[in-house]
């Protein structure tokens, strides 16, 4: 990933002037991109961090008022905690998001791997199959979420009808309305939608494995089972980790699907839905920004874990 200093040092010594001018040109060419990045990513991020230290109701306060860490941790004289870290709703939303992420990413990885293996094998109608599994991924989330919402509807929905016929549900019950099964119902929607994406990423990884390795394994008499565990999986690991990072980060900031299906229901409120409620609905820009910063930190921790584990694998 990074070039080690030992390999470049002699080159630098030999042609310092040329190298330096090259670096200058490279920097010059990079400037527009860095400026754009600073404008669209850097400024909003810094602004959010700044706002998180202020009290600012966008509809009423003329300007943000600096309150330091008050949005994160503040206890009034009566002993009431006002900071986001003292708010049970926040921790509930963190817990919901973690449950959603672990559940959906695990299932998507396993199913995606299975699909990728099937599509990668030389079976008839493979092209058609590849196109077919992409359909859920191609449907806009708003549309598919609303579609599932209807399928879950207790009175008209097909899933509730099956559930009632199988005796899993009473009349007027649905998997969404029961707070104990609501999260599982949402994970099912996400798995349906995102497994194709996972399968595609893993398929790309599978196709980089040279086929002669399998031929050699066949000659050695390794069973398909052994081939999978000793050959396919180790060689697929880099692709698998990249896919995992993508999905985990996506799942951690999930907003659209759960919001469309369940709205502000506390048992399925994710971190992003909670942030939106405070920022947009309650127009608390200070408090809402503090939540956004917390989400940013949490996602950063996950990224750091993944990136370090990736590097270990590569070395």
């Amino acid at each position: 990933m990074t070039t080690t200093p030992t390999s470049t040092r002699p080159a630098v010594r030999r042609s310092r002037g040329l190298q330096a001018s090259r670096t200058r040109v490279a920097l010059l060419l990079l400037v527009p991109m860095l400026l754009v990045l600073a404008a669209v990513a850097g400024y909003p991020l810094l602004r959010t961090i700044y706002l998180s230290f202020t009290e600012y109701n966008i509809l009423q306060d003329p300007a943000p008022k600096w309150i330091g860490l008050g949005n994160y941790w503040f206890t009034t004289d009566e002993g009431v905690g006002l900071g986001v870290l003292q708010t049970p709703e926040w921790w509930q939303s963190v817990w919901n998001t973690v449950r959603f992420t672990v559940g959906s990413v695990l299932l998507e990885t396993m199913l995606g791997l299975a699909f990728a293996l099937i599509i990668n094998s030389k079976i008839k109608g493979r092209g058609l199959l590849r196109t077919a599994i992409l359909v859920p991924w191609a449907i806009p989330t708003v549309v598919s979420a609303q579609m599932w919402n209807w399928m879950y509807n207790d009175s008209f929905g097909i899933i509730s009808q099956w559930g009632q016929r199988l005796g899993l549900l009473q009349t007027g019950q649905s998997f969404l309305s029961n707070p104990d099964t609501a999260m599982a119902a949402l994970i099912a929607v996400d798995v349906w939608k995102t497994t194709p994406f996972m399968a595609l990423l893993l398929l790309a990884g599978l196709q980089t494995i040279p086929s002669d390795m399998y031929e050699a394994a066949d000659v050695d008499g390794a069973s398909p089972w052994t081939q999978f565990w000793r050959l396919t999986l180790p060689l697929l690991t880099p692709a698998l980790l990249v896919a995992l990072i993508f999905r985990t980060l996506d799942a951690l900031r999930v907003f659209d699907m759960p919001y469309i299906v369940k709205g502000n229901a506390p048992e399925t409120m994710t971190m992003s839905i909670y942030a939106r409620q405070q920022l947009i609905l309650n127009s608390q820009f200070g408090f809402g920004s503090a939540i956004s910063v917390m989400i940013f930190l949490i996602i950063m921790i996950f990224t750091a874990i993944y990136v370090t584990s990736l590097r270990v694998k590569f070395d």
Binding site: N57, V80, D154, S155, T171, G172, S177, K262
Partner: protein
């Protein structure tokens, strides 16, 4: 001959487009629940034809919270993209400073035709920020045919009666219709649940969450009893999935003939009585039941038309508002779509009463509706309402007990109140 005809029609077309060019185009964020969009369009088009302007009607979200979130962003950014907004009765305190004072455009004689309480609600710091468009109050819908079939003379007077009746009708109807439920209402965690739950609590004599002086009163034994009564209905006479219902989800179940009772707003009446409705001619409307020792309560709803302070055409926008809220247009909307007028004299109009009989019989309900604590909590109303509806939602889903939920709500509200509303 042919040439002359072409010439005439061409001239006419030019004349028309010239007239259009003179007028302005207003953007109007109106309604989307039930036949809201179509009814707004009819009125706006009539005004446009009369004045030579044109109106672009926006598709707005169905639920009031989502509309507010959208409009708050637009107004917070001082955007003039939308000229006229339809605003909820609880919003004047929240977004009033971004709206035009309509007193400078609309004559006092027309303002004073409307219910004084609503005009007062829409007046913020001496500014009239919205003209009353239609008022709303929660009512109980019931199936007249089913009440008769199971031997009931009239609609229930108390919540316990409602539960007993719904239970009996549901048990009987399920033999032929397995989807049948007793009672549906708005149980999803949003502003609609705040309205419904305020009715339960208030009809038990449990107050209005925060009293007019600003004191948090929600944690009281009567409110606990109210929530306990409703909690017991979930899964027995009301479907458990009522916690995923907004207005339209409840109406879908009711209008398909799958429910004996429904709590909803008056707009549902004309839809249920429409020619293609399965329950046409079987719809009764009554005041909501009361708790033991309490009296019926209906939450005050209703919508106002307001002009965006950042609009480029405030004069034309105010003229549209004036037309849409006039007695003539309100009468048309009452007759065709059962929207409650905000002008007292229309409740005595024979044509209106013929189209919507309960406007006469429930006049008291509409004029005595209970207001949500929006005025006293001002800019913090949304947070109060969120906290309240979430607590009630947790009671409905069985996640918390009524007394514990209200106790923690009380401290949550104290936290929101901070040093004062």
């Amino acid at each position: 001959m042919k040439k002359a005809a072409t010439l005439v029609s061409l001239t006419a077309a030019f004349a028309l487009s010239a007239a259009h060019a003179q007028g302005v185009t207003l953007t109007f964020a109106c309604d989307s629940v039930g036949q809201g969009y179509d009814e707004c369009k009819k009125g706006a088009d009539a005004w446009a034809k009369q004045t030579g302007n044109s109106v672009k009607l926006l598709q707005v979200p169905k639920e009031t919270d989502q509309r507010l979130a959208l409009y708050q962003q637009q107004l917070g950014a001082k955007s003039g993209d939308v000229d006229v907004y339809m605003i909820d009765v609880v919003w004047p305190g929240l977004i009033g400073q971004h709206l035009v004072d309509l007193k400078q455009y609309i004559p006092q004689s027309q303002i004073s035709q409307h219910f004084p309480a609503i005009i007062q609600n829409n007046t913020v710091n001496g500014k009239l920020v919205g003209m009353p468009f239609f008022t709303d109050a929660g009512v109980l819908y019931y199936r007249t045919d089913l009440l008769k079939k199971y031997g009931y003379a009239g609609p229930p007077k108390t919540w316990n009666e409602l539960a007993t009746m719904a239970q009996k009708i549901q048990a009987g109807e399920r033999k032929t219709n397995p989807k049948f439920v007793g009672f549906v209402f708005q149980g999803k965690n949003y502003e609609g649940l705040t309205c419904d739950a305020l009715e339960w609590i208030n009809s038990f004599g449990g107050g209005t969450i925060v009293d007019p002086s600003g004191k948090i009163t929600v944690n009281n034994p009567k409110a606990v009893a109210a929530l306990r009564t409703v909690q017991a209905m979930i899964g027995t006479v009301a479907p458990s999935a009522v916690t995923t219902y907004g207005e339209e989800e409840a109406r879908n179940v009711w209008q398909a003939g799958n429910s004996a009772f429904m709590r909803n707003w008056p707009y549902a009446y004309s839809l249920a009585e429409a020619p293609n409705s399965p329950i046409k001619g079987k719809v009764g409307v009554a005041a909501l039941p009361a708790g033991p020792g309490g009296k019926p309560a209906a939450t005050l709803g209703g919508w106002q038309l307001a002009v965006n302070a950042y609009s480029k055409h405030p004069k034309e926008a105010a003229s549209l508002v004036q037309y849409m809220t006039s007695a003539q247009e309100q009468k048309r909307r009452a007759i065709q779509a059962s929207y409650n007028p905000t002008i007292a004299s229309l409740y005595k109009d024979p044509q209106v009463l013929k189209a919507v009989p309960f406007f006469g019989s429930l006049y008291e309900v509409f004029t005595n509706a209970v207001a949500r604590p929006a005025t006293v909590t001002g800019g913090k109303y949304n947070e109060v309402s969120n906290a309240f509806s979430t607590s009630v939602y947790n009671v409905l889903t069985g996640k918390s007990a009524p007394d514990a939920a209200l106790k923690s709500l009380e401290s949550q509200l104290a936290r929101i109140k901070g040093r004062g509303w």
